[in-house]
Symmetry: C2
């Protein structure tokens, strides 16, 4: 099939950044599929649609989708999916780990119609990983979700494309940049947890309710997706034993530091699934600081590989773009 | 095309390790190509060949190829290539950066006959990168060389498959495990360069002439391949400005350490190509120790990604196997 038509669903932080990337990288995309176009963009209150392609220059310059001239208020993204107006969606609505909505319905509906899905939205993958991957397989379409875990770190495609013969035995990772920022601040500046948390909040690194980050909920969601995707588990959120970082004192961090350890919130996939503060030797590759994330995998052949990068923020568009290019290449029958 | 026939050329350290991997991972390979088989193995003095497949159990148990019963002494690997007895070769003869031989002739001959090549042998790629990649393209076959740089770190496939939309702006890496072992020993144990070098030699980490490692020759070779493969350069070995680690004193390392820096032999690809000792902040992801290698890339979208892993030794077979699986998948028309 040629002429892939994309619909972008969600016009928040990632959606807007991705619109700019689509503008800037259009020549790369058209090298793969010369007729590729973005035919629609939806937010929670309406959409724009143009079967000749939306104006990406205009789209990149507006802060609300409703500023786009042909915006249709009161319409749902589901209408664009149901009327077979697209071949691939980028689902970038806000993460909701309670019921996965509205992303879960968007993704289910698209896959059941054979429409490829690229998403950085964790909620649907945490709640319905096996259902959605089975649905994609059954309908012969791609479901790619590189951006759901550790932002710009391409962990899923690394394992899929670069370690094709290796078996993953164990995984450990710093999977939440906010808690890593807090713990790094406590480590380097000897502040208390409360002060470090306050600074993270002032920098806009946390949700209004910081529990999602500091109690390890976000990291546990990522462990669920990693375990299901990379190690064939049937993991659910409840399977992750979880301890956050509220109890970590400056005293504990100072004591660890004297012995050349840092305290990090580590997610592990081993026999058990766990998110908990752990002592990490400061010279270990996993011991990265600030808002960086890191994932350390143990395999049978390569033994140990660590990937470090930005786990959130606009760098995530790298992962979304890589997934989209993968979909276009598969569609065009380009093997690599 | 089905029924890929592999010939392994070179039965030294990597060749023997790879024979074991072929034995252990045969079911993985046959899942992709059910008739895949290893029809021959050559060393510098002869070969074994069996069009029904060689006995991998036997092959994995011998230390010299001539111990294999049907070993034909005095025959050349080129004969197996010229008689169209194989579809893919794994070229694992010893690295020779002077004239690339015998690997260069093996690879040239195979590619010119449309035979796919997988190799962890740096020499031919350093000396003739563009000639060989052009030859592969012209003849519609794959030339994959993941194992040539940083052993088990899958840097080439990472960029090719996981950062498809990113542009690589700059690269810096610890690309030689021996010098990293020496510098780490000087850093942690406060030994002199001479003592650390001696211990590296006793552990079998260096060539008989340590110049290849300590003068940055090996790292410079890797910079040449990386620059050509990932950043479209036309780099030659002579283009790399090169300073080794012989001049690094314990005093310099101690002084750096007091300011929270380590001295590392860093290869960089920027406007210039360079291998030289550099101060690296001990908290930077690139600052890994022991025999580990690390590669830090800066890109337009993901901004910074660091990969850490083993740069030499038997872990390299992970890269060779990944390349071989890529060849089999491409051959079978499997898109990913």
């Amino acid at each position: 099939m040629m002429n892939m038509r994309l619909i972008l669903i969600g016009f928040g932080f990632i959606g807007k950044e991705f619109a700019k990337v689509l503008r800037d990288k259009m020549s790369t995309l058209k090298e793969i599929d010369k007729d590729f176009k973005i035919v629609g963009v939806a937010d929670s209150k309406g959409y724009i649609y143009n079967d000749n392609g939306v104006n990406l220059e205009k789209l990149s310059s507006i802060s609300k989708l409703s500023e786009y001239q042909s915006y249709k208020s009161g319409e749902s993204a589901l209408k664009l999916i149901d009327e077979d107006l697209c071949d691939v969606i980028v689902e970038a609505t806000p993460t909701n780990i309670k019921d996965g909505e509205p992303g879960l319905t968007h993704i289910r509906r698209a896959l059941s119609r054979g429409i490829h899905v690229v998403t950085p939205n964790k909620g649907p993958l945490v709640l319905a990983f096996r259902e959605l991957t089975n649905l994609a397989e059954k309908n012969g379409c791609s479901l790619l979700y590189e951006g759901t875990v550790a932002g710009a770190i391409p962990i899923f495609s690394l394992v899929r494309e670069c370690l094709r013969g290796d078996e993953i035995i164990r995984l450990a990772g710093i999977l939440n940049g906010t808690t890593n920022y807090i713990l790094s601040k406590m480590f380097f500046e000897e502040t208390s947890f409360e002060i470090a948390l306050k600074e993270a909040q002032e920098r806009g690194l946390t949700e209004r309710d910081p529990s999602y980050d500091v109690d390890g909920i976000d990291a546990a969601c990522k462990i669920v997706i990693l375990a299901n995707a990379l190690m064939g588990r049937e993991a659910k959120f409840e399977d992750v034993e979880r301890v956050g970082i509220r109890g970590i004192t400056q005293e504990a961090i100072s004591l660890a530091k004297k012995s050349n350890y840092a305290i990090k919130l580590i997610g592990t996939i081993d026999k058990r699934l766990e998110v908990a503060p752990k002592l990490v030797p400061i010279n270990h590759p996993l011991c990265v600081h600030g808002t960086l994330n890191a994932i350390h995998i143990e395999t049978d052949l390569a033994k140990e590989i660590t990937l470090v990068g930005y786990g959130a923020g606009k760098e995530t568009v790298s992962a979304v773009l890589n997934d989209l290019i993968t979909v276009l290449k598969r569609n065009m029958g380009i093997k690599n």
